[in-house]
């Protein structure tokens, strides 16, 4: 009987452990799935999936084609300057890295990107404005 009890106790504890293990595993699975769902949902609400981005890309190429061909040749120099300025919108990538919690290598890279892009943004827009104010219509001497 004693043996029985012991074995029973053993068995019970084993079942309990098994159950606990199983539970843990299930929980892990659930967590993972939730994580996946979270990520995917983030994908839905916040950032776009590849197909959408690609569609946006294709349409933007059309817009770019038309909008640039409609620029008057007299303003091709300002066009170069202003595209220079707006292409620095990649500063966005630098900001994300530079503004991150930890101050690591990646943050330094972000800082440099922000600095360089800023040179370009300020420089590009100011040069553009400087050029554009010069274009005047009727003679005013």
């Amino acid at each position: 009987m004693d043996m029985d009890v012991t074995s029973l106790q053993d068995q019970a504890s084993k079942v309990a452990t098994d159950a606990a293990n199983l539970f843990e595993e299930a929980q892990k699975l659930a967590n993972q799935a939730t994580h996946l769902a979270d990520m995917a949902v983030a994908g839905v609400d916040g950032s776009m999936d590849f197909l959408s981005l690609f569609t946006v890309f294709v349409l933007s190429c059309f817009v770019g084609f038309y909008v640039v061909w409609s620029v008057t040749p007299a303003l091709h120099s300002p066009l170069m300057a202003v595209t220079n300025a707006i292409s620095s919108v990649i500063i966005v990538g630098g900001l994300l890295a530079a503004g991150h919690m930890d101050m690591d290598f990646s943050a330094v890279m972000g800082f440099m990107a922000v600095t360089l892009a800023s040179v370009n943004i300020f420089g590009g827009f100011i040069v553009t404005q400087r050029m554009l104010v010069m274009y005047k219509k009727k003679n005013r001497g």
């Binding site: 983030a42 916040g46 950032s47 776009m48 999936d49 590849f50 981005l53 946006v56 890309f57 933007s60 817009v63 770019g64 909008v67 640039v68 409609s70 620029v71 040749p73 007299a74 303003l75 091709h76 120099s77 300002p78 170069m80 300057a81 202003v82 595209t83 220079n84 300025a85 292409s87 620095s88 919108v89 990649i90 500063i91 990538g93 994300l96 890295a97 503004g99 991150h100 290598f105 990646s106 943050a107 890279m109 972000g110 800082f111 440099m112 990107a113 600095t115 360089l116 892009a117 800023s118 040179v119 370009n120 300020f122 420089g123 590009g124 827009f125 040069v127 553009t128 274009y135 009727k138």
Partner: protein
Amino acid sequence: MSAEMTGFAYLIASVLFILALRGLSSPDTARMGSRYGIIGMTIAVGTTLLDPSVVSFELIMLGILIGGTIGTVVARKIEMTALPQLVAAFHSLVGLAAVFVATAAFYNPEAYGIGERGDIKIASVIEMSLGLAIGAITFSGSIIAFAKLQGLMSGNPITFPMQHLVNGLIGLAIVVFVIMLTSVQSAGVFWTLAALSFAIGFLLIIPIGGADMPVVVSMLNSYSGWAACGIGFTLANPALIVTGALVGSSGAILSYIMCKGMNRSMISVLLGGFGGDPGKSVNVSMLNQNAKSGAADDAAFLMRNASKVIIVPGYGMAVAQAQHAVREMADLLKAEGVDVSYAIHPVAGRMPGHMNVLMAEANVPYDEVFEMEEINHEFSTADVAYVIGANDTTNPVAKTDPSSPIAGMPILDVDKSGTILFVKRSLSPGYAGVDNPLFYADNTMMLFGDAKIMTEKIAQALA
């Protein structure tokens, strides 16, 4: 700010960037357009700063402060004639910034939500390495372009044996390393890829002659746009993609326009070996011929008695900074009742729209300045064509000699006008190194001298 809101903000920024370029369709709307661009950039930056993952602002503020100051000072100081090299320098910065962003993403992918260090999503790795490679090429290429335009290095094409083979091999290696990076995400592979890309940018540009640099700058502009697209895909940010595509198209179209204006193919430009320092390849055989030359007074007399004068500015006017002098001379002529207008060849000067900016700088109203197609038929009714520092763009050889390097390039028909005045320092050819038979035409009078000094003298004679 919710994720949806963020998305809308970026969309608004994109639309503002489109409107910024759209504004440039006419000088009247251009300034408004560039204001849209500034607002768009502010929105894009502001939206990113509100991102919950952006928590520390010291580095950001510092970066914007330093960068903004440098940019402002440089942009205020720069001479309008130095625009081509300025644009090249700015491009190199965008390229380098793209490299830094790609590096940041590689070392801290969590910040961008694209996976974990050493375990980045494959699609993101590809997009990221495209951003890296294109950015690096843009950087080193633009540095060379800048150095050539600024005169820091010789404009001569630098060629070496088996150039194309070496370039091809490096290009192949880049592709291999991009693929490798998708599985082995080690720093070693990453930096090798970066180094190879820097190298190819350098090697691709050095064989191209200094005078072809404008096409190169434009092409690199295009590259910087596509690099922004690559980063945009990595960050899943539509604003970057839209902007990148705009910039990419703009650069591509401008290169196309320039190539067409010179009647050369993009390929021939990129293969290099053409257009070294101007004046090197003077064909002296024609110098013996008789070219009539005149003085400022003769020119003043001719133009005062003309009823219609067309001014044709070229690269030499930019070099001599003669635009203000030209404007004053034109004012004096107009005061005498002469009808004065300006004819701009699509590739006059050294960058697209170069002459237009200079004329605008000198306060010439833009409705007196005409593109080639608009004014070309009017040379036949003009009494005098005042060609100042322009050469190739007036060279009839383009029409007559199919073997010439400028064969097929459209030219300004100055030879149709009553008298042609050529203001330049010598009989040496222009950028393409082709002699101009017009110098020896019966109705041509050469005005030898610096463009600015000569024009001022004529103005004095008119006053």
